[in-house]
């Protein structure tokens, strides 16, 4: 290993350049040996090197296709990887500026979906003749993620839980106000809904929203102030109560009050609530994203079961390009392609596989055995859109404050 350039130690030079030099040096002696490259994030490929570029990237022939990426020096794969990386690549992690780096700021339950999607998109983007992009992801409660982008987290695309959170970014001037019309289906490439997850055998016999307010039932849901999923939960409960009580607002509010009286833990994000319910084993029922519920079934087999209530809500998690940020980096085209790729058959299949409801009707039908069709209200028709729903229910002094504050 060559001695790191002093500038690298000061963090002035992106780390890839010093690594690439080291790798190139090593490769002179071992021309025919396999080269390992990093394509995007965790994705690596291995093959015989066929081309080398000025910026240090190389193209390898993997046998199936040709892939371009940053070479991974051999030493890094050794046991001492951590230490060497720390000493030689100091200054590296944070500022590795590369041609096309996309940061996808997303909400909690999409981790597994986007991990696979990013690999698929990288392969597609390279097949289009582009250099391999570096795709980074950040996950958290939808509300806090939106706030971080407004505060300066340099997202190129946002894939959040609800329109209101992207509206907030638009209000800060980072993307146009009409973002929702830039992509098909209200800019939501997949939908989801809200279901119940109960303990195996449903010991408390929870079948519908009305059962959740019974004495001694512990309900787990995140905080609607910080979590997008929680707001969908809240509106679904509200829609059921409104129908059940024939629109009597006092009774609806009483129902919501009773519901939150049964909530022992109010986490900040959907994933926090899921861990509370599944790992820490608190509560009788988790009001959850449908995809999250199936994920738990997969992760904790035989411990939980899913209950579909009589009425739920059509959740449309939207996506948008943060144009102010992409224009600066010259990544607008890649960011757009990234989001448009969500609508392709390949990505729609991935959505179905990760228990989101694909927009593509044919692909949705393939997964309908699990993604049970149930009556769904929508925010636009039944709550007058997110701006109104946000104001009525979740802003300071809204119905949530009335219900939770006067408990």
């Amino acid at each position: 290993m060559t001695v790191a350039h002093p500038a690298t130690i000061l963090g002035l030079v992106p780390f890839s350049s010093s690594f690439a030099t080291a790798a190139r040096g090593a490769n002179h002696q071992e021309k025919d040996m396999l080269t390992t490259i990093r394509v995007a994030g965790d994705v690596t490929a291995q093959g015989v090197k066929v081309a080398e570029y000025q910026d240090g990237r190389v193209t390898v022939e993997t046998g199936r296709d040709r892939v371009t990426g940053w070479p991974v020096p051999r030493v890094l794969r050794g046991a001492l990887a951590g230490l060497l990386l720390a000493v030689a690549g100091i200054g590296a992690a944070p500022q590795a500026v590369q041609a096309e780096t996309l940061l996808n700021v997303s909400y909690d339950p999409t981790r597994e979906l986007y991990r696979e999607f990013n690999e698929a998109f990288s392969a597609y983007w390279v097949a289009q003749g582009n250099p391999a992009p570096t795709i980074e992801v950040s996950h958290g409660g939808s509300g806090s993620q939106s706030r971080a982008v407004v505060d300066g987290l340099k997202a190129q695309v946002v894939t959040l839980a609800l329109g209101g959170d992207i509206d907030r970014i638009a209000a800060a001037g980072l993307l146009p106000a009409d973002w929702q019309s830039k992509l098909p289906n209200n800019a939501s490439p997949y939908t989801s809904t809200i279901v119940f997850l109960v303990r195996e055998g449903n010991p408390k016999g929870l079948k519908d929203w009305g059962d959740l307010v019974a004495d001694g039932v512990e309900v787990i849901t995140p905080n609607p102030k910080t979590s997008g999923g929680a707001r969908w939960n809240y509106l679904a409960a509200w829609a059921w109560a409104e129908k059940h009580y024939g629109g009597d607002q006092t009774q609806v509010l009483d129902y919501i009050k009773a519901l939150f009286t049964n909530v022992p833990v109010l986490d900040t994000g959907a994933r926090g609530s899921t861990t509370t319910f599944a790992q820490r084993k608190i509560g009788d029922v988790l009001i959850s994203w449908e995809n999250e519920a199936y994920l738990i079934e997969k992760e904790f087999p035989g411990e939980t079961e899913i209950v579909y209530p009589s009425l739920s809500i059509l959740a449309e998690p939207p996506v948008a390009v943060v144009e102010k940020n992409t224009e600066k980096n010259g990544t607008t085209a890649a960011a757009r392609a990234y989001l448009e790729f969500l609508y392709t058959d390949e990505a729609q299949e991935l959505a179905g596989k990760h228990f989101y409801r694909p927009r593509n009707a044919a692909i949705l039908a393939k997964y309908s055995a699990k993604l049970t069709p149930i009556p769904l209200v929508t925010v636009d028709k039944d709550f007058g859109g997110w701006a109104k729903a946000q104001k009525t229910h979740f802003d300071d002094g809204g119905t949530f404050d009335q219900a939770y504050g006067t408990k």
């Binding site: 994030g41 990887a81 720390a86 992690a93 944070p94 950040s138 800060a172």
Partner: protein, 278 residues
């Protein structure tokens, strides 16, 4: 018993108190520590090693070492300067400076993080200027280092001040009368006297720098493989149901802590010996 007079309590009371202490120590310290390691190795050492060598983990380790590697030297220099100033000189505002040094201990780390967002965030005080000059502080390395420096600010100074206070400045004064200049006084008189305390402070500072969660979490942006430090990476893994991997990283952090404690004991041992030798 010959030394009965030392304690007035009866034997059962003593045993009860000792037993209570052992139970509490086991419950609150040993058990959690053991749980971390057991959970980390529950799926075998292969999973353990893989969890620590995957890209995101390596980058988290690297970032953690980098943040500590920058903030510890900074705070060492600062701590030395502050302790020197406060103990060897008397001036107006001295006690105010002392409380100021303690501020990071008193403030919750989350507040510390939020303050930096307020100052350097896109909508913060310096946000527009930073943006115009294309400087990224929050949600990038500088923010993480700032937060770490802030939180670990007092460790070295707090360790040195009582020590230097008790030593007084007689030796320095003697050196000055013998014609030593400032730097000579520091190198040949002050530094040898405080070296063990200094080392101890640096170790504590380092332990905290590597383990800091709250303040760093606020300014990190949680970009996988980029702005996640090791403690943040543990949380990410835990939230992704990769419990064994999460605990593998937690075990690494715990190991670093144990190593620090070991070094600390060694320092105490050595300093004890050298003190006796005087």
């Amino acid at each position: 018993m010959a030394n009965r007079s030392v304690t007035t309590e009866s034997a059962p009371v003593r045993w009860l108190l000792i037993g209570l202490a052992i139970v509490i120590l086991t419950l609150f310290l040993l058990l959690p520590l053991a749980a971390v390691f057991i959970e980390a190795f529950r799926r075998g050492s292969e999973v353990f090693i893989k969890a620590l060598t995957e890209d995101a983990a390596l980058s988290a380790i690297k970032l953690t070492l980098l943040a500590a590697g920058i903030s510890v030297p900074l705070n060492t220099v600062f701590g030395l300067a502050a302790a020197w100033l406060i103990t060897k000189f008397r001036f107006k505002g001295r006690s105010f400076l002392l409380s100021l040094i303690d501020l990071p201990f008193a403030v919750s780390p989350v507040i510390a993080g939020l303050v930096f967002v307020l100052l350097f965030g896109a909508r913060g005080w310096f946000g527009p200027w930073l943006k115009a000059n294309d400087i990224q502080i929050i949600f990038a390395l500088p923010g993480i280092i700032l937060a770490t420096v802030f939180v670990t600010f007092p460790f070295v100074a707090r360790e040195l001040i009582p020590l230097m206070e008790s030593q007084g400045s007689d030796q320095e004064e003697a050196a000055v009368t013998l014609g030593a200049r400032g730097w000579q006084v520091f190198r040949h008189v002050t530094l040898p006297n405080i070296k063990w305390g200094l080392l101890y402070g640096i170790l504590l500072c380092n332990a905290r720098a590597m383990g800091e969660f709250g303040a760093v979490s606020v300014v990190s942006g949680h970009i996988r493989g980029k702005t996640n430090t090791l403690p943040l990476h543990v949380e990410v893994l835990y939230n992704e149901y990769q419990f064994s991997a999460a605990f593998a990283c937690a075990a690494l952090l715990a190991l670093l802590a144990l190593l620090t404690l070991g070094l600390k004991s060694l320092v105490e041992h050595l300093s004890g010996h050298s003190a006796k030798g005087h």
